[in-house]
Structure formats: structure tokens, C-alpha cells
């Protein structure tokens, strides 16, 4: 029989030690230094996947740039599905947060004058991306982690796995977790809980995400009745390595890298992203610096037309950096050179890097208001697991690292404020009832006499998502994937663990993660099925659905959990109070460009190219 090994009481509990979690823990401490803040994470904080972000973090920095421009880029990038007052708040606070990080010691790259340097990034009109070589996320995460050590109010529970939330009548009282080292079950009571558990990219076969990015927090909030918003929007990054999916940062293109198909042709000009810019002289929002969704879609079309390159690990195109020269490459993109050499055995100085699109980011997540509060009192969400309304249908590169900081601070502040208010602690009897309920699925896993293993199930989940809910979607494909998910859920009930021990039972944890993933996947597919239009990262193939349809779908999707297969979808109005919807224009189609005469702006590539 499973039973609690210990109980911990705290004021603010932060679940997740990534950028969002650390930032909110610090903010909570600063809001009220008397509070006990507990940071719980299934991996040591500096292992969180924020560590892998390469490119940079955006904020209006230069004199010729403006908040309005950052706002416009973000809103048009989101295909008008971002909540505009949230975007407004975001662009206004971005700079201060990056400065704060600088004051905490982040080693941002510098200009000769000693000022912070900014670089170009896809989808941004102006250079406004702060970077720390090509390890921006790494430096942000370590700076935050190290800074967090300064606060004696922060107590860490490293390598604790969040098992469930203790929720009763729309109020969150704490969580139940496993101390991974001992396998002990721990109940943590908290006045407020912040979920900062990251995205869900691992649901897909090819992804740039780390093994921990399994959507745990999303699934738990979802199961307790919080809506998952805009889950159909899954960002593919156009440049992942074949096989592993390891990310080759967008900064490569920002620095002047070019994409070539098997004929050595810069195919992006055929997809409304031209006119062709000279190699090494990138132009914002044009060609290789177009937004990610467009670039990934262009790959898909090239592949359909047989113009991609055969690689032992699948179809690829080439990312060519050779013209940048060894010195520049080693100075600006050292990590990329290292990755390419190790994982595909290619030296970018001498040869082009084979790349393919890979799932990168989940735009959707746990529905929160602008203060990061969910519909459950005492439960907050922030970072990639949340949907505060910033990214809409497509996230712009380098907006999400800044999001972690800007909204991490908000979440920490709000959670601390709530925890500082006098409140009625939950009755012991209630807590024990909730705990018993929460333990049931775990108990079942332990007792199961079934014969299924989690690995093949996970494999099928990833393949099916890639197949039915990938770059291009159709009703038939989505339905097939939903059916597959329902079957997988059935089989999940028959899961049997291969490790019966308690200490570091990673077999158990992966099984639990799979359970979370299945729920999140269902929300994604159901929302994708019901969004009968194409917008941002969500592209439908059926005739009539290949364009944006503001009439019916300028709305957020909200997925609600239900015990029977599939999710219940509702729709929510988008806040467009500041800028009315318009076309997303890139390359020569932009109003500022001169060469767009006569060209029809379209989200779809031409059938016949060249």
C-alpha cells in the first residue's frame, strides 16, 4: 500500500526549475522576503531545458527601434491570435528584465563600446535580440540559478517529481510529489502553487527538446479542469539535425546562413519570402529570416516535390554557412560548430549542415489571465507550459526567453501576494482524501498485471503525432491520430513496470510522463481538428481550409479534459483592442518593400515554382 513518507508546508511552491520557475521563485522572495518559497523540480534546475536555448532574448534596445515595432512584429507573427494587451505589457517590460539579468551577472555579448550587443532574429524587423554567444539560454538559466542561491528564503527540492495537484472546489492546496532518490511520497502544502513545467515537444518524434519536456504540468492542470488554450499551435523549427532533432539555432541564419535544396537553389524565394538576398547579407523578415512556420512549410513542399536531399537519417536540405568564414563562425557560433561536428560529423566551415524541421515549441498551454493566474484559486502557470496570450498561432524566436523573465516575475509576485494574505488552511481530512485520490493511478501502475511497456507506446504516440498532427494537418489524419491516442490510452491501463524498486525508478517516471503526454496530445489533436482554417503554425490541407478565416476562427481554442476520449473544445475571443487583424507579410510582400507589385500575398506556396 502506498503511503506518505513526509509532509512539507510552504507558502509559495514553484514547480519547475527552468527560466520561468527560477525567475518566479526569486520574484516571490523579493515580493515578500518573509515567505517560505519552495522550488521543486524533477531535475536539478540547471538541467532544465531552458539551458538549450541558443539564439537570444528580445527587447527593444536600439534608439531607432520602438515598442510599437516589437508589438507589431509579435502580433503579426502570432497571426493576430495574441492577446494584445498582454503583448503590450510584455514589450514594455522586456528591456527592464534583460537589464535585471545583466545586473545579476549574465554575460551578454558586447559591442566594443561596452554596450550590450543585439542581433537579428527571424520575424523581427529590427535587431533587438540580446545574446550570450550562442548559449543564451544556458547563461540565462545559470545566472538565474546562481542568483537564486543568494535568497535564503528559497528552499529547493531537487529531483522531486510532481505527481498531482491537490485541488478541491477550484482551490489548490498543494501538491503530491515523489522524492526521486528515495521513491518516497511527499505531500507539500502551499498557499499558492506556480506551474513552470515547460512545454510538451517530446510528444513528437523529431524534436529539439530535452527528455524532460513531456507536458506534465499541462496535463495535471488540464485534468483538474483548467483549459489548455491554443494547443493546436505547435511550432516546428526549420533547422534541426536529422535523426536527433538537435537544434541548429536560427542565429545561423541571422548571421547570414542560407538554405539550399538538392539543386543548390535557395528555394525560399519560391514561397513568398523573396526576393533573394545576397549570401551573407541577411535582411530582416526576408528569405532565411522569414518566420519559422513559413520556413518549415517550405521544407514540406520541397520534400513533396522531391527536391530535398537524401541523408542516412532521412530527407534534409542544406544550411550553408561556409561563406561566413572560419573566424566569424568560431566567434559567433562556436556551439553550433561543436554540435555539427559531434552529431552529424560535419564541419560547418567546410561543408553545409544537413537540417530538417523538428518540433520545437508549444505555443499553447495552461490558460491563465494576464497575471498568470489559472481558473483554480492558488494555481498559477508561467513559461512554456502556460498560455498567457503572448504567442498566438506562432511564437517569434527570442520572445519566449524574455517571456520567462517578464511573466516569471509577474507569477512570482502574484503568487506571493496571495500567499501573504491570511487564509484558511485545508482541513487534514480533506488533504488526506485528496491524497488518496491522487495516489490511485500510481497504485494502479504498481499493481498492474498487464503486459504493455511504456516504450513502444511512447514510440507510437510520437509517430502518430508526427503523422497526423505535423506541419500540415487534415481531418482524416487528425482523426486517425485521435483514434490511435484512444487506443494507446486503453493500452496504458495495461502498463506494467519493469522496475519494482523505489530508488530512482526512472521506469516509473517515464510511464507517468507518458500518461501526461497522452492527455496533452489529445487536446492538441482535438483543437487542431476543430480549427478549420490555416493560421500560423496550424496548416490544414483540405481545400477551403488553407487560408486564414478570421470570420470564424479569430478565436482561441480552449480544450477541456473529459474522461471519455477526445477533448471538449470551446472558443474564446481574442483581445485585438490595439491593432486590427491584417495579413502577415514577409519578404518583398512587405509594404516597405518595393518589389511586391502585382504579387498576391498568400499563405500558400505556389503550386508550380520557378
Amino acid at each position: 500500500m502506498l503511503s506518505l513518507a513526509k509532509t512539507i508546508t510552504t507558502d509559495v511552491l514553484v514547480v519547475g526549475g527552468g527560466g520561468a520557475g527560477l525567475r518566479s521563485a526569486i520574484a516571490a522572495c523579493e515580493t515578500n522576503p518573509k515567505l517560505k518559497v519552495t522550488l521543486l523540480s524533477k531535475v536539478y534546475p540547471m538541467r532544465s531545458h531552458t539551458v538549450a536555448a541558443e539564439g537570444g532574448a528580445a527587447a527593444v534596445t536600439q534608439a531607432h527601434d520602438s515598442l510599437q515595432a516589437h508589438f507589431d512584429d509579435t502580433v503579426s507573427g502570432s497571426d493576430w491570435l495574441a492577446d494584445q494587451s498582454v503583448v503590450d505589457y510584455f514589450v514594455k517590460h522586456a528591456f527592464d528584465e534583460l537589464v535585471q539579468l545583466e545586473h545579476w551577472g549574465c554575460p551578454w555579448s558586447r559591442q566594443p563600446s561596452g554596450d550590450v550587443q543585439v542581433r537579428r532574429f527571424g520575424g523581427m524587423k529590427t535587431e533587438r535580440t540580446w545574446f550570450a554567444a550562442d548559449k543564451t539560454g544556458f547563461h540565462i538559466l545559470h545566472t538565474l540559478f546562481q542568483t537564486s542561491l543568494k535568497y535564503s528564503g528559497i528552499q529547493r527540492l531537487d529531483e522531486y517529481f510532481l505527481l498531482d495537484l491537490l485541488v478541491h472546489e477550484q482551490r489548490c492546496y498543494g501538491v503530491l510529489a515523489i522524492d526521486i532518490a528515495s521513491g518516497d511520497l511527499v505531500q507539500i502544502q502551499a498557499a499558492s502553487v506556480i506551474l513552470a513545467t515547460g512545454g510538451a515537444g517530446r510528444l513528437y518524434q523529431f524534436n529539439t527538446n530535452g527528455g524532460i519536456v513531456t507536458g506534465d504540468g499541462m496535463a495535471l492542470a488540464y485534468r483538474h479542469g483548467v483549459a489548455l488554450r491554443d494547443m493546436e499551435f505547435v511550432q516546428y523549427h526549420p533547422t534541426g539535425l536529422p535523426g536527433s532533432g538537435i537544434l541548429i539555432t536560427e542565429a545561423c541564419r541571422g548571421e547570414g546562413g542560407i538554405l539550399l535544396n538538392k539543386d543548390g537553389y535557395r528555394y525560399l524565394q519560391d514561397y513568398g519570402l523573396g526576393p533573394e538576398t545576397p549570401p551573407g547579407q541577411p535582411q530582416n523578415k526576408t528569405m532565411e529570416l522569414g518566420p519559422r512556420d513559413k520556413l518549415s512549410q517550405a521544407f514540406w513542399h520541397e520534400q513533396q516535390q522531391g527536391r530535398t536531399i537524401q541523408h542516412p537519417q532521412g530527407e534534409v536540405v542544406h544550411l550553408d554557412l561556409r561563406h561566413l568564414g572560419q573566424r566569424y563562425l568560431l566567434e559567433r557560433l562556436p556551439f553550433i560548430c561543436e554540435l555539427a561536428k559531434a552529431y552529424v560529423n560535419v564541419d560547418p566551415v567546410k561543408s553545409p549542415i544537413p537540417i530538417r524541421p523538428a518540433v520545437h515549441y508549444t505555443m499553447g498551454g495552461i490558460l491563465t489571465d494576464a497575471n498568470c493566474a489559472t481558473s483554480i484559486r492558488g494555481l498559477y502557470a508561467v513559461g512554456e507550459c502556460a498560455s498567457v496570450g503572448l504567442h498566438g498561432a506562432n511564437r517569434l524566436g527570442s520572445n519566449s526567453l524574455t517571456e520567462l523573465l517578464v511573466f516569471g516575475k509577474v507569477a512570482g509576485r502574484e503568487a506571493a501576494r496571495l500567499a501573504s494574505e491570511p487564509s484558511q488552511p485545508a482541513a487534514d481530512s480533506l488533504l488526506s482524501t485528496l491524497t488518496t485520490q491522487a495516489l490511485a493511478p500510481l497504485q494502479q501502475l504498481h499493481n498492474s498485471q498487464g503486459s504493455e511497456r511504456w516504450q513502444p507506446l511512447r514510440q507510437q504516440l510520437a509517430a502518430s503525432m508526427e503523422q497526423g498532427c505535423g506541419i500540415y494537418r487534415s481531418e482524416a489524419g487528425l482523426k486517425e491520430t485521435l483514434t490511435c491516442l484512444a487506443q494507446l490510452k486503453q493500452r496504458y491501463q495495461q502498463l506494467r513496470l519493469g522496475d519494482s524498486g523505489k530508488a530512482f525508478n526512472t521506469d516509473l517516471l517515464h510511464a507517468l510522463e507518458l500518461g501526461f503526454g497522452l492527455d496533452v496530445a489529445e487536446a492538441m489533436c482535438q483543437a487542431a481538428l476543430e480549427r478549420k482554417e490555416s493560421r500560423g503554425a496550424h496548416q490544414r490541407q483540405e481545400p477551403g481550409l488553407t487560408n486564414r478565416n478570421d470570420q470564424d476562427f479569430l478565436r482561441h481554442s480552449l480544450a477541456f479534459y473529459q474522461t471519455r476520449p477526445g477533448a471538449r473544445i470551446e472558443w474564446q475571443a481574442v483581445d485585438t483592442s490595439l491593432s486590427p487583424p491584417a495579413e502577415r507579410l514577409y519578404g518583398g510582400q512587405r509594404p516597405r518593400g518595393q518589389s511586391s507589385a502585382g504579387q498576391q500575398p498568400t499563405d500558400n506556396p505556389p503550386k508550380e515554382s520557378r
Partner: protein
């Protein structure tokens, strides 16, 4: 696909009193990493095999293991380089929790002990500090540590004396001490000045050899010896400030 032999050190705390070896045969190709091989073993042969991993791109620092007795990142070590097979064991010098998983808490305690954060009186209001590329270059290398702990497994002094702060923690202290924005050196020196600080090192230098990120912790530690010596001389001429003995 060719196959190769992996000897894996097992330790299951609930069953074993000491580690033992178990052999596995795995398939591999040109891009199979040690981490991939472990995944294969866990998926197909024995799902109780435990190890840490996350990013699989050599940046999160989770996956340190001893490969043929040498500390390495599992995700950045490739089977193609070991055609005759290999042995995998948990990182040396740390207590073993289970299979390839070691207890890293001492390492983390050492990191926290050296106050690895910027200590400064007042930052410029609303704008960043100025820091030239040359000033950045002074400490940049030491800020690249991913806390993988390989250097602790390489350092025999840490093995002999677990209280030794160790290469990565000292490199991190050095990183902040060299940062033009920082004024907290004096607060960090107390730890560095002790027998368990920089003076625990005898310049074996192997820590820098195994470091997967080119941090060169040995340089940091030994530059720290000069700093500590100077600090001592200064203290000596400033009697009364340091009363403890």
C-alpha cells in the same frame, strides 16, 4: 547494424550491497551515442537500468559517466569510437545512488558555498553595466561550466578529501572574481583561502583534460592560489581585520 558489447556497472540499493558488472549487447551506427545505447538497453533489455539525461546535446550536464574509466558526457561519446566495446560506470568519487546515478548534492553544496552570484553595491539604474569585450573575455571561459561534475571525477584530491571545494566550484568563484561588475571577491576569498579551497589542489590538471566545455578549471584553481596568496599578504599588513584563527 553492427553490435558491440557494453559492460555496465549495476548497483540497486534495495538488492545489492556493492556494485557488480552486467553485460549487454547493443546495436550501433555512426551516430549512436552512449546515451542512445543506454536508452536501447532500457527499452529492450532491462528497464530497471537507471541513468540521468535530459538535453542530449551536451549542454545540460546531466549525463556524466565513466567510459572505460574516463569521465565523459554520455550524450557526446559515440560508440563508433569504441569498436571493441566499452565499460560504463557511475562518475568516480561520488556516492552511488543507483546504477549510473550518483549523489551530486555535495557538488551543489560546494557550488553554493562560494557565493556564485554578482555582488555589487549599486547597479546603474535602468540600464546595463558597461563591460567591454576585453573585460568579458577575462572571465567568459569560466562561465561556460555546465556543472556536469566530470572534473570532480577526474580530480583525485576530491576523491581523497570530499570536502575539497573542487575544480568547478572554484572556477565559478574565479569567474565572478574576474567579472568587472563584481565587488564580492573578499566575500568569496574566505572559502578559497582554506585548506579545502584552492589549497586542496595539487595541480593534477586532469580536471581540465576531461572538461567537455573547455573551461580549464585547473587554470582557475591555480590562478586562485596566486589570488589567495596575495589576499593573505594583504591581510597580514592589515592586522585586526581577521581575528579568527
Amino acid at each position: 547494424m553492427p553490435t558491440t558489447e557494453i559492460r555496465l556497472q549495476r548497483y540497486r540499493p534495495e538488492q545489492d550491497n556493492a556494485p557488480h558488472w552486467q553485460d549487454f549487447r547493443v546495436e550501433y551506427d555512426d551516430s549512436t551515442s552512449v546515451l542512445d545505447a543506454l536508452e536501447q538497453i532500457k527499452a529492450e533489455q532491462d528497464s530497471s537500468v537507471s541513468y540521468r539525461w535530459s538535453c542530449r546535446m551536451a549542454i545540460c550536464g546531466s549525463c556524466g559517466v565513466m567510459v572505460d574509466g574516463v569521465p565523459k558526457l554520455g550524450c557526446k561519446t559515440f560508440l563508433r569510437d569504441y569498436p571493441k566495446g566499452l565499460t560504463l560506470a557511475p562518475l568516480s568519487h561520488f556516492p552511488i545512488e543507483k546504477d549510473l546515478i550518483v549523489d551530486m548534492s555535495r557538488f551543489l553544496a560546494h557550488l553554493s558555498a562560494i557565493k556564485p552570484y554578482l555582488i555589487a553595491e549599486a547597479a546603474p539604474k535602468g540600464k546595463p553595466y558597461r563591460q567591454t569585450p576585453a573585460q568579458l573575455a577575462r572571465y567568459k571561459q569560466f562561465s561556460n561550466c555546465i556543472n556536469c561534475g566530470l572534473c570532480y571525477s577526474a580530480c583525485p584530491q576530491f576523491g581523497l578529501k570530499p570536502d575539497f571545494l573542487g575544480p568547478a566550484a572554484i572556477a565559478l568563484a574565479h569567474r565572478y572574481n574576474l567579472d568587472s561588475r563584481d565587488q564580492g571577491k573578499s566575500e568569496r576569498m574566505a572559502q578559497l583561502n582554506s585548506d579545502n579551497g584552492v589549497w586542496g589542489c595539487t595541480f593534477v590538471g586532469y580536471c581540465s583534460t576531461v572538461c567537455p566545455k573547455g573551461v580549464d578549471p585547473a587554470a582557475a584553481v591555480n590562478q586562485g592560489k596566486i589570488a589567495s596568496t596575495l589576499d593573505g599578504v594583504i591581510q597580514w599588513f592589515k592586522p585586526g581585520k581577521e581575528t579568527s584563527k
